[in-house]
Amino acid sequence: MKNLLEINNIVKKYGDFRALNDVSIHIPKGCVYGLLGPNGAGKTSLIRIINQITMPDSGAIILDGETLAPHHTAQIGYLPEERGLYKSMKVGEQALYLAQLKGLSKTEAKKRLKYWFEKFDISAWWNKKIEELSKGMAQKVQFIVTVMHNPKLLIFDEPFSGFDPINAQLIAKEILQLRDEGATIIFSTHRMESVEEMCDEIALIDKSNKILDGKLADIKREFRTHTFQVGLHTEKPKEVENILRESFEVFPSNFKLLNDSLTLNVKLTEGNSSNDLLSFLTSRGEVQHFVEVIPSANDIFIQAINKNS
């Protein structure tokens, strides 16, 4: 089985409102899968359906070859965007309770919690109440509660919000390590730089529809504009630029080089290849900079959403 999770033709209606419109997403085993989309696109609805918090009106979900059923909750870990724990309950008791709800026995839960509490160096908090902890501390407990039952599928909704950069780094490292140990991770976020950093594949949901999905590298290729950043050391920059315009589309540059070179963004036109551009440049001067502009996740996000609307 290549895919851990197959979401097939999911429709979810709230009254007359369609929160999800025939959405299908396939998530391969052992990857970090970015679930992206603007606010209100339907991400949370989809995540809730995967968690069996709500049921779809139609469509099917297959987890590791089996149709999603109540006993699968033990194989899923979920960190919701809006975090929360019982404020007046002690950290340890609370974690034990939640672990047992996920199907761990009490002794097993204690063992796992001990491991994680030591790993995060928070054993001293065991008997503290959540209301006595800072927000960042509570977030760590929350993270442990999400992963302690070794789920096959982990769903993180904005996992870095509320963490300072150091702890965010720590959590990112943990998430990637969990992936390397075999877990599959759904990662929902608005922070595109963390998408670049973490995700192997992404899906983009907008207005209840999936508008894009696939490997991040493939999508980037799909969104490539065949534009190159070019830096050329030449005696006659004006002349070179004018000749370039005859065979390529030329835009003003948006980057700086160390010396006084001619800098341009050049887009290949029909029938041109990057080699053509490069040989043109080498014949006119000394090439100092030649880089293809790779669309960032942010660019892709904005472009895809704008196209959809």
Partner: protein, 441 residues
């Protein structure tokens, strides 16, 4: 261990560990007894004050014999002083009031022209007792005028005391009727209080989970229905625990108190019985009140009542707390609950009113019977009726109706609960709640 059991356990422990639960459980029986003792003490104090009443009898019909001093009233004959002087004296001095009996030609006129002056307006019982005294005197006088022998009338007086039995051979009396009313009323009222207190506790707990946002984590592990049911059952167990502790505390205290104060406790208990019944007690038993009361209490179907209390508490609580849970799920904070609380409270209050107004007068009247079958009022009204003896088939119908209704209500409210716990922001309208019922899963 099943998830439901885990949830019940957590809810139970969260409730029982709460400081207010501990306070309520151990302090309120003491408080109740303290209040009872205080009322009894005040009643004693109130009675002890002797009222001095003077009378001016110009008709010369009455004598000291007719105005005998009682425990609380002391009569003084001021006829010699004259009406006007007496009134003045009473107004200035330390007297309660003045009864002025003028001289009249006929007894009929006399009966209409007697006056009573006092600084404060007198209580009804005082005026009644004065009127009784005067009436009987004038009646005797008239009987005398008709030539009827008073002694013969006295001799013809006879007291009837109908002994009441039901067909199962239990003997009943006015005293036991009073006790039945008392026990039934206390049970019904207690049940309402329990349902209300623990129902709102369920509601608060739902709101807490919602505002602390842990709800989404919990429902990713368990079904919302399981969580709601666990919450209700956990709180019900805490309620039962409190009820048992109260029972034990009251039992211990009454044993201790009766050995320390002896008779006082008996009088406190009889004080709860309506005045009419007290007379019956005194008349029937004289000094041996304690024994009689205990005997009569033992005649009540205590075990049956206890079991029924537990059943109706659980049934009524499940019914109402599922509604409370739905309300808690629908709103974001406690201040928004008002609008939805009213329709829940109404039937509860109605139950208590119907119980007090109808059951006490006629425990098997059609209204009492009707309300002891409607599931929203049956827990209260039926408990009030049970001491008077309710046939098994009526009980079974009422219990079955309650059972069916609460299962239905739990199912219905779970639908609202399930949607509501994940909704934040705008306070929903009833129309929204109706819409939620139709959402899938």
């Amino acid at each position: 261990m099943s998830k439901l059991k885990l949830i019940i356990q957590r809810e139970f422990i969260a409730k029982v560990r709460n400081k207010s639960f501990i306070m309520m459980t151990f302090l309120s029986p003491l408080l109740m007894i303290g209040m009872g003792a205080l009322i009894y003490f005040l009643m004693q104090k109130n009675d002890e004050k002797i009222k001095k009443i003077v009378y001016v009898d110009t008709s010369e019909m009455f004598s000291k014999e007719d105005f005998k001093d009682s425990k609380t009233i002391h009569f003084l004959d001021y006829t010699a002083l004259g009406a006007e002087e007496t009134k003045k004296k009473v107004e200035e001095g330390n007297y309660y009031g003045a009864l002025i009996i003028p001289k009249q030609d006929s007894l009929e006129l006399l009966a209409k022209s007697i006056e009573f002056y006092s600084k404060d307006s007198p209580g009804m019982s005082l005026i009644n007792s004065l009127e009784n005294k005067i009436e009987s005197k004038i009646r005797n006088k008239k009987l005398n005028n008709f030539g009827i022998d008073l002694d013969k009338i006295k001799a013809s007086k006879i007291n009837t005391d109908i002994k009441m039995f039901n067909f199962s051979g239990e003997e009943s009396s006015k005293l036991i009727n009073g006790l039945k009313i008392g026990v039934g009323a206390i049970a019904g009222y207690l049940l309402m209080m329990f349902v209300l207190i623990y129902g709102t506790s369920v509601m608060r707990s739902v709101i807490e989970e919602k505002t602390s946002r842990i709800i989404e984590i919990i429902v990713s592990s368990v079904k919302p229905f399981q969580l709601m049911l666990g919450k209700i059952l956990g709180n019900a167990s805490a309620g039962l625990l409190q009820f048992f502790i109260w029972g034990i505390i009251l039992f211990v205290i009454s044993i201790v108190a009766s050995s320390v104060f002896g008779v006082d406790v008996v009088e406190m208990q009889t004080a709860k019985v309506p005045a009419e019944q007290m007379e019956a007690v005194k008349a029937a038993a004289g000094g041996d009140k304690m024994q009689l009361v205990i005997q009569e209490i033992l005649k009540l179907p205590i075990l049956k009542m206890f079991i029924l209390f537990i059943f109706y508490f659980l049934g009524g609580f499940m019914l109402y707390s599922s509604l409370f849970a739905a309300v808690g799920a629908a709103v974001d904070n406690e201040t928004d609950t008002q609008q939805f609380m009213m329709p829940i409270m109404l039937p509860l209050i109605l139950g208590v009113y119907v119980g007090f107004a109808m059951v006490i007068n006629d425990p098997h009247g059609s209204i009492a019977v009707l309300f002891s079958h409607i599931p929203f009022t049956s827990p209260i009204v039926m408990l009030m009726r049970v001491p008077f003896g309710v046939s098994w088939y009526e009980l079974i119908i009422s219990m079955a109706l309650l059972l069916v209704t609460f299962v239905f209500m739990v199912w219905l409210t779970a639908k609202i609960y399930r949607v509501g716990i994940l909704m934040y922001g705008k306070k929903p309208t009833y129309k929204d709640l109706y819409k939620w019922l139709k959402y899938k899963g």
